[in-house]
C-alpha cells in the first residue's frame, strides 16, 4: 500500500485513456469460461451477462449473470447491484424453486464463480477506479506483436486490495489491457491475465478482447474465457436488474 505516492502525468494520461476505452453504459453478451485445475480436470460453464452502469463517476454497476449451460445449472442467475458507500445488494435465483434469495455481498477477494478471477478483478475490468491507485510509468514493452505501455499500479492508502501491486500492459493502439501481473501482499507474483483476440464489437468502433486467460502461477490453476455476441451501449431494459425480473424471466 502506498501512503505518499503520486501518479506521474504520463501514467495518468494513459490510465485515463484506458478508462475511456473500457467505460460502458451497458453491455450484453455471452461468455464461456473453463476452469482448468493443476491436474488437468476441467469445468466449463456458459453465462449470459447483462451489465448496466449505475453511476459512471463512482464506477458502480448492476450485473445479471445467468447460466445458459450445462443443463443442470441452466437458469441459475445472480443479480448484483453495486452502490456507492454501501455494501452490494446480491440475489441468487434458483430455477428449481422459481425463487430468488438475497445473499451476503461477495468480498473483493472471493473468487468469481470458482474462476481465478476475483470480484476485485471483475470490478477493475469493468472500470478501474484510477483515483484509488498510484500509477508509475515503467516504459514501453511489447506483448506479442502489440506495442504496449507498462505501468505499475499500487493501491493508495485507504484502498482495500488483495494485491500489493499490479503490473499493467496497455495496448498503444486500443488502450485495452493486454496483460496484468498480480502480486500478492508478500510481493510474490500470484497470477497473470492475458487478453487475446482483440476485435471491434459488431459494427461499433469499440474494441474488446474476445478471449482472456488467467494463470495462477502459485497454484497452477487456469481460467480461460471466451466472449461472443457482445452488444455495448446499445441500450438495455432497466427492469432486468430487479429481483422480480430474475424470478419471471
Amino acid at each position: 500500500m502506498n501512503l505518499m505516492g503520486q501518479t506521474s502525468p504520463e501514467a495518468l494520461s494513459i490510465m485515463e485513456k484506458y478508462q475511456q476505452a473500457t467505460a460502458i453504459e451497458n453491455l450484453t453478451g455471452k461468455l464461456t469460461y473453463t476452469n482448468i485445475s493443476k491436474t488437468g480436470r476441467t469445468q466449463t460453464r456458459t453465462l449470459q451477462q447483462y451489465i448496466k452502469s449505475n453511476d459512471l463517476k463512482e464506477n458502480k454497476y448492476s450485473l445479471v449473470l445467468e447460466f445458459v449451460s450445462p443443463a443442470d445449472v441452466a437458469g441459475t442467475a445472480t443479480l448484483t447491484i453495486q452502490q456507492a458507500g454501501k455494501p452490494d445488494e446480491q440475489w441468487l435465483y434458483l430455477p428449481a424453486v422459481r425463487s430468488s434469495k438475497r445473499i451476503s455481498p461477495s468480498k473483493k477477494s472471493d473468487r468469481f464463480m470458482g474462476t481465478e478471477m476475483t470480484y476485485e478483478d471483475l470490478s477493475n475490468y469493468l472500470s478501474e477506479n484510477i483515483q484509488d491507485f498510484q500509477y508509475t510509468f515503467l516504459g514501453e514493452e511489447s506483448q506479442g506483436n502489440q506495442k504496449a505501455f507498462k505501468i505499475e499500479a499500487v493501491p493508495l492508502n485507504g484502498t482495500l486490495s488483495q494485491y500489493e501491486k499490479r503490473h499493467l500492459w496497455i495496448d498503444q493502439k486500443t488502450y485495452l489491457m493486454l496483460r496484468t501481473d498480480f502480486y500478492d501482499q508478500k510481493g510474490n507474483l500470484l497470477k497473470t491475465y492475458f487478453a487475446q483476440d482483440i476485435q471491434l464489437v459488431g459494427n461499433s468502433s469499440i474494441f474488446r478482447a474476445h478471449k482472456i486467460k488467467l494463470e495462477n502461477v502459485q497454484t497452477g490453476n487456469k481460467t480461460e474465457v471466451l466472449y461472443e455476441g457482445f452488444a455495448i451501449n446499445e441500450g438495455i431494459n432497466p427492469s432486468i436488474f430487479t429481483k422480480t425480473y430474475l424470478e419471471t424471466k
Partner: protein, 433 residues
Amino acid sequence: MAKQFLVLLILFFTLMSSFVHSQTKEPEAWKTNFSGTAYALGRYYYQDKESSINPWQMETRGMLGLNTSYKDIFQGNLTLIANANATVESRNRLWVNEAFVSFRKGKLFLNLGKQTIKWGTLTGYSALDLVNRYDYYDILDTDNERLGLWGMDARILMGKTEIQVRAFQPDNRSKLHLQNNRWIDLPNSLPLPNAPGGEVPVFYKGNESTFNTNLPTLGMSVTSQLGSIEIQGKWLSANNDIPVSSISLLGGMENPHDYLLELDYRPIHMGAINLSSWIGSWNIWSELAHVNSERIDNSGQLSADTYSFISLGADRFWQLDHPERQVRLMAQYIKVISWIDEVYRPTELDHIFQSSLLLDAMLQLTYKWRLELRSVADMVTKGLYIAPNVQFRPSDKIHFKTGTDILAGSSDSFFGNFRHNSRIHFHLTYYPF
C-alpha cells in the same frame, strides 16, 4: 374437458409462436428452447423384512420442456412428463405438468395457465410449504414431484416493493398412492367387541374425496427492503393438499368386510412474516407463521388444528483455495407451538417437525465428485433422519447419485415410526440438451 382444451390451446399457441418465429420480420426477437431430462431411479428397502411390498422400487422418467419467447414480452411454457414404474401402476402415466403463458409490461407481470407452485420462499423449510401439491409416491424425495395447478400469478413492482397475487384452482389435492405404499398403512382389521379376537378383517374397496369447491387456492405476498433486511409478509388460504381420512363401512357393522376411505381435504389458512439478511458471509433468515387448519383428534372427531411456526436459519457458501473444492452449509431450527391440547400422531404429515434441527451440507471434492448430507433431528418426538449421498458427474450430461436414507428414533416420531423404510437409492440423470 375444459382442462384438456386449455392444454391444447396453450400447446397450439406455443407451437404457433415457434412457427411465427420463421415468418416474422424480427426473427431474432423470437426464441425457442427445448430442455429435457431423463432419469432412472432405484430404491431398496433393506430393513423391511416382513412387508409383502416389493423391497425394490424401480422407475424411469422422461421430461421434455418447451419454451418460446418474444423479446421480454411474451413466453409460452410446456412441460411434458412420461413416467414408467416397475411395480406401481398409478405411476405409469404421461401428462402435461405445466402449460402456461407469461406476459410482461413494464413492471407488471402475469403468468396464466397450469404451473407448479412452491409457496414457501425460505431457503430451508417454510410453513407455507405445507400446502405445496405433490405426487406423494415417496414422502422423502419430492424434489421432482410438484404437480401443476391451473390459475394465475400476478406481480407488480413499485420501487423496491413487490406485490404478488396468486389465484389457483380449488382442487389442491396431492396425489396419494394408497395401496402398496410404505408410508400409508391401510387398516386390514377393525375392532368389534363381539367378534372372535375382538376384531374383524376388513378390505379396502376404494376412496372418495371431497374438498371445498368454492375455496380457490389464494396467496398474496408483499416483499420490501429495510436497509439490508428483506421483509416479506405472506397470506395463504387453500384446501389442504393432505386429507383427513375416515373409514366408511360398506356392509354396516353386521358384515364389516369392505370399506371406503373417505378423504376430506379441509381448508387451511396461514399468515407468515419472513425476514432475511446477512452477518458477514452468513445468510440469515427467519419465519414466523400462524396456521389454522383441521385434523382428526384423538377421539376421532374433526377438530380445529391451530399452531404457530417459528423458524431461524443460516446458510453459507465457501469457495476453498483449491479451485475445485466448495462447501455449502445450511442449518435451520424449527419450533412449532401447538394451540391445541393434544399430542400429534407420528403419521400426521403436517406435523413432522415440532422442535427440529435441519442440516444440509455439501462438499464438492472435485468437478466430478461431491458429497452431500441431509439430516433432521426432532427433539420433542425423538425422531432422526440422516441421508448421506455421493454424486459422480462423469460429464455435464450424465450425473450419478447414490446414498442412503436412514430413519430412526422413537415410534412417537414420524421418522421412528417409519424406521423400517430406511433404504439405499440410486439415481442416474441424463441431460440430452
